[in-house]
C-alpha cells in the first residue's frame, strides 16, 4: 500500500466517523418530537391547576374537587377536630398534624388510597377505603392498613383569603 493510499484511508475513516456522528446526532434529535408528542398536550397541561372558592365550604364539611383528573378532598375542620388531630398520630406513618396542613382549619389531601389507588369514602372519623379496608383520620394519616402511607398532599397555595389554588403555578 502506497503512502498516498494510506493517507487516503485514514482521511476516509475520519470522514466516515464524522458523518456517522452527525447522522446519529440528527437521528436522535429527530426522535424528540415523536417522544414529546406523547407528553400531555397544552389543553391537558392547562388543567394542571384547580382553583377553589373556600367560602363555599362550611365548617365541618368536605368538598371533593378534581385536580389533574384526580379527586382532592378539601376539609374545613372545626376547632375540636383540629385539637383532636394535633394530639393523635398514626402508628404506621407517623407525622404531626402541623406538617399536614398549611392552615390548620383547611386539610387538602389527594383522595387516592396509598394502597392500590381506590378512592376512600368519608366516615365520621376520617376516611375508609372500600377496596381493602384501610382507614385514615381527619389529617389524612393512615390508621389501619394495608395502606402503607398517609394520603398524599398536593402542592397548593392560598392565593387569596378565600381562594385555594391546587397544583404548581
Amino acid at each position: 500500500m502506497s503512502e498516498q493510499e494510506l493517507e487516503d484511508r485514514e482521511r476516509r475513516d475520519f470522514l466516515g466517523k464524522v458523518t456517522a456522528a452527525v447522522g446519529g446526532a440528527g437521528a436522535a434529535a429527530a426522535c424528540w418530537p415523536f417522544i414529546s408528542s406523547m407528553n400531555p398536550a397544552t389543553n391537558v397541561l392547562s388543567k394542571a391547576t384547580t382553583e377553589i372558592e373556600l367560602s363555599m365550604i362550611p365548617e365541618g364539611e368536605t368538598k371533593t374537587v378534581s385536580w389533574q383528573g384526580k379527586p382532592v378532598f378539601v376539609v374545613h375542620r372545626s376547632p375540636d377536630q383540629i385539637a383532636a388531630m394535633s394530639k393523635s398520630n398514626s402508628r404506621i406513618d407517623p407525622q404531626p398534624d402541623e406538617e399536614r396542613a398549611k392552615k390548620s382549619e383547611w386539610l387538602v389531601v389527594v383522595g387516592i388510597c396509598t394502597h392500590l389507588g381506590c378512592v376512600p369514602n368519608k366516615t365520621d372519623k376520617g376516611w375508609s377505603c372500600p377496596c381493602h379496608g384501610s382507614e385514615y383520620d381527619l389529617s389524612g394519616r393512615v390508621l389501619k392498613g394495608p395502606a402503607p402511607k398517609n394520603l398524599e398532599l398536593p402542592p397548593y397555595d392560598f392565593v387569596a383569603d378565600d381562594k385555594l389554588l391546587i397544583g404548581k403555578t
Binding site: G23, S36, N43
Partner: protein, 419 residues
C-alpha cells in the same frame, strides 16, 4: 461482549450470514445511476409514514363529529403535533413522487422484462395498495375536500352492473359518506400499510433472487458487480440527504402546498364546494375517468389505465434490452407517454369545459394508444436495429451476459454434482 452475543445468535439464526449475503456483500451492478435510488427512498418514506401515522393515531378520533376538531387539537395543542401532521401529509405526496419516478425509471430502461416481471407486478400491487391507503387517509381530516372526494370516489363503485347501489351503500355503511365510513376508513388506513410491508418483502425477495437491473438492460459480467456496502450504502444515503433537503423544505416552509384550502372547512354533507379536485397524484386517472361520457365506461377506462401497466412485459416484443438506451423509437414513445400524463394531470385539475373535455379525450386516446402501439413498434424497431447492425457497446454487453450465464450454469452444475 457484542461479538459473543452475535456468535450466540449466529448458532441459532443466520444473522451474520444474512447481512453479508443480502446487504453488505450483495453484488450490485456498478453502473447503477441515481434513478436506482428511488426504491430505497420509497422504503424510507414508507417507514416515515408508518411512524408519523402511528403517533398521529394516538391523538386522532375517527368520528364524524370529532375528527375535524381532533386534527385541530393535533395542530394546536399536541406537542409538535403540527410537525407530525405535516410530515404525514407531505409524506403522502412525497411517496407518490418517489413511486412515480421509480416506475418511470423501470419504463425508461425497460427493466420490467424477463426475468423481472414479478418485480414489476408486485410493484403494481404496491401502487394500487398505496393509492387505496392514500385515498382512505385523505378522508380522515373530515374537511370539505376529504368528504366530497370520498363521496365521489365511492360513488364510482355504483357503476358495478346489477348491484351498483348496494355496493356503494355497503362500502360506506351509510347512505352517504358518514360516521360509519370514517371509522372503517381509519381502520383500513391503519391496516393497509401492513399489507404494503408484506408486499414490499415479496418485492425485495424477488429483487434479491433476480438481482438488480441496471441501465444497460443486460446482466453484467461478474467483474462489473460490486458489493452493496460501502458503495451503494453511501450512494443511497447521499440520495436520501438530497431527498430530505427538498422534503423538509416543503414540511417547514410550504406545508400547505399539498393541502387543498377547501379542506380547512369542516365537512358539510349538504353543501358541495364549487370545484372538487382529487389529490394531485390522482389527477391523470381522474382525467381519464371524466374523458369517457358513460359512467361504467369511465370507471373501466380508469381501472384499465392502471392495470394496463401489468401487460408491459408482453407488449414490449423487442429482443433488444436496455429500454430507451439502445432503442430510439421506444425512447420517443416514453417521452410521449410522460408528457401525455402531464397533460392529463393538467386536464384533471381544470373545471370540465368543452375544450378541456376534448383535450382530455385526446390525451386519453394517446395514453392507451401508446400501449397498443408498442407491440408493433417494438417489433419493427428490433428488425430495423438488427439490419443496421448493433453497436460495439451492445455486442460487448451481450458477450458479457453470455459468459456470465455460462459461469452461473457451471457453478450450478458443480453444486449439483457435489450433492
Amino acid at each position: 461482549m457484542a461479538r459473543l452475543v452475535i456468535s450466540w445468535i449466529d448458532r441459532r439464526f443466520p444473522l451474520t450470514k444474512f447481512i453479508k449475503h443480502e446487504l453488505t456483500e450483495y453484488p450490485t451492478p456498478r453502473n447503477l445511476n441515481y434513478w436506482w435510488n428511488f426504491g430505497f427512498l420509497a422504503g424510507f418514506v414508507l417507514v416515515l409514514q408508518i411512524i408519523s401515522g402511528v403517533f398521529l393515531a394516538m391523538h386522532y378520533k375517527p368520528d364524524a363529529l370529532l375528527a375535524f376538531a381532533s386534527i385541530e387539537h393535533i395542530m394546536r395543542e399536541v406537542n409538535y403535533g403540527w410537525l407530525l401532521r405535516y410530515l404525514h401529509s407531505t409524506g403522502a405526496s412525497a411517496f407518490f413522487v418517489v413511486i412515480f419516478i421509480h416506475m418511470a425509471r423501470t419504463l425508461y430502461y425497460g427493466t420490467y422484462r424477463a426475468p423481472r416481471e414479478l418485480m414489476w407486478w408486485t410493484g403494481q400491487v404496491l401502487l394500487v395498495l398505496l393509492m387505496a391507503t392514500a385515498f382512505m387517509g385523505y378522508l380522515l381530516p373530515w374537511g370539505q375536500m376529504s368528504y366530497w372526494g370520498a363521496q365521489v370516489i365511492t360513488n364510482l363503485f355504483g357503476a358495478t352492473p346489477m348491484i351498483g347501489d348496494e355496493v356503494v351503500v355497503w362500502l360506506r355503511g351509510d347512505f352517504v359518506v358518514g360516521d360509519a365510513t370514517i371509522n372503517r376508513f381509519f381502520v383500513l388506513h391503519f391496516l393497509f400499510p401492513f399489507l404494503i410491508c408484506g408486499m414490499v418483502l415479496i418485492h425485495l425477495v424477488a429483487l434479491h433472487y433476480v438481482r438488480s437491473s441496471n441501465p444497460s438492460g443486460f446482466n453484467l459480467d461478474a467483474k462489473d458487480n460490486i458489493p452493496f456496502h460501502p458503495y451503494f450504502t453511501t450512494k443511497d444515503l447521499f440520495g436520501l440527504g438530497v431527498f430530505l433537503v427538498i422534503f423538509c423544505f416543503f414540511v417547514f416552509f410550504y406545508p400547505e402546498f399539498f393541502i387543498e384550502s377547501e379542506n380547512n372547512i369542516p365537512a358539510d354533507p349538504l353543501n358541495t364546494p364549487a370545484h372538487i379536485v382529487p389529490e394531485w397524484y390522482f389527477l391523470p386517472f381522474y382525467a381519464i375517468l371524466r374523458a369517457i361520457p358513460d359512467m361504467l365506461g369511465g370507471v373501466v377506462a380508469m381501472v384499465l389505465s392502471i392495470l394496463i401497466f401489468t401487460a408491459m412485459p408482453y407488449l414490449d416484443r423487442s429482443k433488444i434490452p436496455g429500454g430507451s438506451r439502445y432503442r430510439p423509437a421506444y425512447r420517443i414513445l416514453f417521452y410521449v407517454f410522460v408528457v401525455n400524463v402531464a397533460v392529463l394531470a393538467y386536464v384533471g385539475a381544470q373545471p370540465p369545459t368543452d375544450a378541456m373535455t376534448l383535450l382530455g379525450r385526446i390525451a386519453t386516446f394517446i395514453y392507451f394508444g401508446v400501449f397498443l402501439l408498442l407491440p408493433f413498434l417494438s417489433k419493427h424497431e428490433e428488425k430495423w436495429l438488427l439490419e443496421r447492425g448493433l453497436s460495439r457497446e451492445v455486442l460487448d454487453l451481450i458477450e458479457g451476459e453470455e459468459s456470465h450465464e455460462r459461469r452461473r450454469k457451471a457453478t450450478a452444475r458443480r453444486e449439483e454434482t457435489k450433492r
